[in-house]
Amino acid sequence: MNPFEVFLRDDILLSTRIVVLADVLCGLGILAALVSMLFHARPSADGTRPSWVARGPILFTTLATCAISVAVGFRWKEVNHFPSQTMSEVLTMFTLALGVSMIVLWFALNLRKRGHGWAIVEDALILLVLFGVVFTHAHVRTLATAQRDLPPALQSWWFAPHLSCLIFSYATMGIAALIALVYFVTRFWSGVYRGGQSWQSQAWILAGLVLVPFAHLVTIPILLASALVFGALMALGRVPGADTVLRLEKELDDVSFRAFAVGFPFLTAGLWQGAFWAQEAWANYWGWDSKENSALITWLVYVIYIHLRLLGGYRGAKAMSALVAGALSVFLTFQVFGYLPDSQKSLHRYTDDGVEPQEGQQGGTPAATQQARADSGAKDAAEDR
């Protein structure tokens, strides 16, 4: 069923239909970003004073974000609890967080004020984020959207802040990694078209962009699309040289760090809020559950990034590589986690994503054993032993 048909049908939940509206707004935002990029590419363009053409992308981003938040609001009403229980709900929350992060970073980073050409980087960032939202929604449409009751453990005050903080930080960290990607792609194609980069560094970048599983679903399209852009710039004779790329490296490193700095306190708060919650539910602030551990690993990757950058003085490509590694860790924690060996007994598995937790377990599982032990305890108590 095509998305427009979805929008018109009465037998589909309103939240699902409003997400389609958000996708349309994202599509318009993508067009606006492309127009704005062409507009800013004129030699006479002054990116520091945004015109209405330049404001188009963020305007549509804001409208799309509002639409997603209305969808989330309706979903809340439709399921009668904070809508972050199933994978489809969590991913919709994530796209909302992407929109909110982009708007926050648009103001916080103020890229267009940095000078000529920066407005294009800003448009490109919005373009990528909106594509991210649309593709995530397309994936959500393959997942089940049934209402699920909250199990007792999820009925906690901590549910909403824990999830919101983590998801907002994931979105911001994702955008920080996108900024780093813009740098690596620029460096690669500038090296290809204008030279000035060693073949080893080019090989590393290419391998990183093409070979990392799952990440290359994002990086290869970006690499190919930017090949076209650089081809056009080549034809116009405006491909940036190695010295421009070097200047850009410092600036993008700074920008990506600022984006990271917005997300990091939320990541920290989200992580430890999970511990406060577990403490209330099981008097066990850290159960070494593999989701908790994956989240801790993500946090530690960013801790390493901070130390390398602030104490070790690492800047540019090296620091941005750590940032990309952090985003990969976020992705692993968020989406791949259910396939990791120790995740099978995790309390954090989403059970409607086609990955069955105890799928084919040959005989009991640890949970079943615990249940069996508790059952025998119940029997003992019943028989007053």
Partner: protein, 868 residues
């Protein structure tokens, strides 16, 4: 102009330059830290043995020497140690190695109960290799999960001692879990993006059914079912492929398991090497936090940094305190039992622990989600219809029709107006409709009064009124309504309305005589959409889904369980003589994919799946349910009370002529039970008044509410609108209660289009469990004295809300549907908790200061300067 050169006097006087301090890089730091971690593993293991009194003299002496040498080294080389820990490379290396260590625990499944520091994979080196090689690869069976010796154990275990059996069984259990988890991971790694994974083609005919399902419940419900089915159908095939991968690489998995066990990788977080690493991390953080002038610590520039590092130190220190002092377990309580001060350490009844006080259970309840099910009379989807959780304000729309350009239009709209925690169901009222075709009428109904003579006689001897045993029985010709079964099991009685002689003959002598019931077979991994439902007789074998074969070995009308042996007790009488009060069958299940056959008892009254016991079966993915056929199964003679629009009542027996009967008279039936025909209605109208307790509001949140513990049914008020938005729109308000008393849980539309059932959903996770506890301390006379720890509100525990007393935390952790007064209470004694929590708060606060407040303040200061 050249800068003045600083001359190092000491260097020049000796004539040699001082040695350049060693520069730590990532590689050298990692090597040294790993060396320290290995030393820590050895030293802490020896220390543990010394503390437990198990160390030899040599080990104690070696440890003493090591500790002394370490202390001397630290004192003499304190400057070098400080420089080491203050190097950025060392700090980053410590974080990287900690990250890797945490990652190990994600990639290596942790053993069951690893939270207990004493839990280990047993050593099986003394078990003869031939036994290991025979037993370990053998398919897992039920008896493997009970670590004691059992009569149905694998024959290879016969020559081992009981203690060896226990160790080998536990080893195999843990190894199987490890092998499966790693196999699952490797399989997905080899099939990135699902490439090469089995396709999830739905069985033929399902799509057409789903289309009809979509018309009834909407496209969203349909798509959800379809996605569920797709995932489930491919799930089983995927599991088989993972099984093959494991079998083909058995040796590699076994070797990996042995390596992980030897290095404590499958109990990473409780291992000594992990503790050493975190200890080093603590020292590293401490060295770096407290360097420089303390005055800087209170500046905005450094404040955030200091707070974060203080937080990390506090939480690591708290964690260590927890590690040394924590104990956890479960205390099993039942309402009415005396106070209990003993709990099972780490959920293990062989590890009893005593608290310095006792607990008792005042109240316990489980409240389930209030649920509505809607079905359509002209549809038979086999699977359960979708169920809808109810809350005030919820709207459910169903039965969609095309509405042209406007897309789809629902023909049924249900709005939940009120939800009540306590409902009172009054006595039902019935009457014959004025018109025989009144659509509000439910059709024919016979009302009988029965009297159990044997009970009356017994009662008369005690001087009671005999008529207290008279019971009303309602019978309708609807084949879904069960017939009347004589409690003395001398006859069975059904009614028929306007039935032909042929139909009457088929009813009294059914062609499928001897069928004991219907078995529903469903492979859990294949979704709950299409269970296979087959008629069963004793001795027959059914070819089930996914290569399972189920043979019905025996059947019983009154199946009982012996709680001690946990086996079924079969009635020795012939099946026909057993009243079906709790019917069940014993089946033998075999699978095409091999394994020992499983013997399973399937009871009509006990659903293993909803009780969470399905996982304990040898074939846990095959769910079986039984519906006993009370009319065709072997039993006493069948009688039919037949009447019609223009026909008087008569009683038809299996092989006799119809006997005319009269309203108000006794029916000529065999046995002691007296059955009087009270009323015969041709089109009955029926009403059950449902009232609500105004005090008991809808419980939607966590606040204490005494009505939570009520055993009354719950109730709802619904606004039902049919054909909304059209000229035919009609609206009515319905009151329902979650009990079958007076059919107050059921409603069907007058046009027999659809029905609704309201119930509390016990098959899923509940809304909540709550317990109210009392605390008791030993009095002077040694008896337990209840002490005041607050009112019920304060003594109530829920998941997410625990009770603390003298450092012990109690939280809701377990329940068992078979024992409604039982509550399993988690017990935790952990004095490290507050430190860790403060540490975490400090870390959050510090990161906000460093990454939010500081940049804002600095930006403001910059703007101020520019303006100036």
């Amino acid at each position: 102009m050249s800068e003045p050169r600083i001359v190092d006097e000491s260097a020049t006087t000796n004539g040699a330059r001082p040695p350049k301090p060693f520069r730590w890089g990532f590689g050298s730091a990692a090597l040294l830290v790993l060396g320290l971690v290995i030393a820590g593993q050895v030293a802490l293991t020896v220390l543990g043995r010394i503390v437990d009194g198990e160390a030899t003299g040599l080990q104690s002496a070696a440890f003493g020497g090591f500790a002394l040498a370490t202390a001397v080294f630290l004192v003499l080389q304190r400057a070098a140690v400080a420089r080491f820990f203050r190097t950025m490379h060392v700090g980053v290396t410590l974080v990287v190695l900690s990250l890797a260590a945490v990652g190990v625990g994600v990639l290596v499944p942790q053993i069951t109960g690893f939270e207990d520091p004493t839990e280990r994979i047993p050593d099986i080196r003394d078990v003869p290799a031939d036994v290991v090689e025979t037993y370990v690869p053998a398919p897992r069976v039920k008896s493997d999960e009970d670590f004691r010796r059992r009569p149905d154990d694998h024959p290879a275990l016969a020559k081992l001692t009981n203690e060896q059996v226990a160790r080998l069984k536990k080893w195999k259990y843990e190894y199987s879990l490890f092998r499966w988890a790693e196999g699952f991971f490797v399989y997905h790694l080899l099939h990135l993006y699902g490439v090469g994974m089995p396709e999830s083609a739905l069985p033929p005919g399902v799509a057409e059914k789903l289309d009809r399902f979509q018309d009834r419940y909407g496209i969203e419900e349909r798509e959800n079912r379809e996605k569920q089915m797709g995932a489930a159908f491919s799930g089983r095939q995927k599991s088989q492929e993972i099984g093959t991968l494991i079998r083909e690489n058995e040796k590699a998995f076994r070797r990996a398991f042995q390596v992980c066990t030897a290095l404590d990788l499958n109990r990473t977080y409780k291992s000594n090497w992990f503790a050493t690493l975190l200890g080093l991390l603590f020292v590293g953080v401490a060295f770096n936090t407290f360097k420089g002038s303390p005055r800087q610590w209170f500046t905005l520039k450094k404040g955030g940094y200091v707070l974060v590092h203080l937080g990390v130190m506090t939480l690591l220190a708290g964690g260590l305190y927890s590690k040394l002092k924590t104990d956890r377990g479960i205390v099993h309580l039942m309402i009415g039992d005396p106070p209990r001060d003993v709990y099972d350490g780490y959920h293990d009844s062989t590890k009893p622990r005593r608290m310095p006080f006792a607990l008792s259970l005042d109240e316990f309840a489980r409240r389930d989600w209030k649920t509505l099910e809607v079905g359509f009379f002209d549809e038979d989807f086999k699977s359960n219809p979708p169920s809808y959780t109810l809350w005030p304000g919820r709207r459910i729309e169903l039965d969609f029709v095309d509405a042209g350009a406007a897309g789809k239009r629902p023909r049924i709209r249900i709005d939940v107006r009120e939800v009540h925690e306590r409902a009172v169901v009054g006595a039902p009222r019935w009457w014959d409709a004025e018109k025989p075709d009144d659509p509000e009428g439910l059709g024919p109904l016979a009302i009988l009064a029965t009297l159990d003579r044997a009970a009356v006689q017994a009662q008369s001897q005690e001087g009671a009124q005999p008529d207290v045993h008279e019971r009303s029985v309602f019978l309708t010709p609807d084949p879904r309504i069960p017939p009347y079964l004589d409690p003395a099991w001398k006859f069975r009685l059904a009614i028929r309305y306007d039935a032909s002689p042929e139909e009457l003959r088929r009813t009294t002598t059914p062609p499928d005589d001897g069928r004991v019931g219907w078995l529903s077979l469903r492979v859990a991994a294949a979704g709950d959409v299409e269970p296979m439902i087959v008629p069963v007789r004793v001795g027959e074998t059914v070819d089930g889904p996914a290569g399972y074969r189920v043979k019905v070995v025996s059947a019983a009308g009154d199946l009982r369980f012996d709680p001690r042996t946990k086996t079924e007790v079969l009635d020795p009488r012939p099946l026909a003589e057993q009243f079906p009060s709790s019917p069940g069958v014993v089946v033998e299940i075999t699978s095409d994919s091999g394994g020992m056959p499983e013997r399973r008892v399937v009871s009509e009254t006990f659903d293993a799946e909803s009780q969470g016991l399905q996982k304990e079966y040898a074939f846990p993915d095959l769910a079986l349910n039984l519906e006993w056929e009370r009319w065709t199964s072997p039993g006493p003679p069948r009688f039919v009370l037949s009447y019609g629009k223009d026909r008087g009542p008569e009683l038809v027996s299996e092989n006799g002529a119809p006997v005319p009967v009269q309203v108000g008279r006794e029916l000529p039936l065999p046995g002691e039970t007296r059955v009087t025909l009270k009323e015969l209605l041709r089109n009955v109208r029926f009403e059950t008044p449902v009232e609500f307790d105004p005090e008991a509001d809808f419980i939607s949140g966590p606040a204490y509410d005494p009505h939570f513990y009520s055993t009354d049914p719950t109730g709802i008020v619904l606004d039902l609108t049919t054909d909304p938005g059209t000229e035919k729109e009609s609206k009515r308000t319905l009151r329902m209660a979650s009990t079958d008393a007076g059919r107050s849980n059921l409603w069907s539309s007058a046009d027999r289009r659809f029905w609704m059932r309201y119930f509390e959903n016990t098959t899923a996770m509940p809304f909540e469990w709550r317990s109210v506890l009392s605390v008791h301390e030993k009095g002077a006379d040694g008896s337990w004295q209840t002490i005041d720890v607050g009112n019920e509100r304060e003594r109530e525990i829920r998941v997410n809300d625990y009770l603390v007393h003298r450092g012990y935390r109690f939280f809701q952790t377990n329940a068992d549907a078979r024992f409604p007064t039982y509550s399993g209470i988690g017990v935790v004694y952990d004095p490290g908790i507050p430190f860790v929590l403060y540490g975490m708060w400090l870390t959050i606060f510090g990161s906000v200061v460093a990454f939010v407040l500081r940049p804002i303040a600095e930006a403001r200061a910059r703007r101020g300067k520019v303006a100036a």
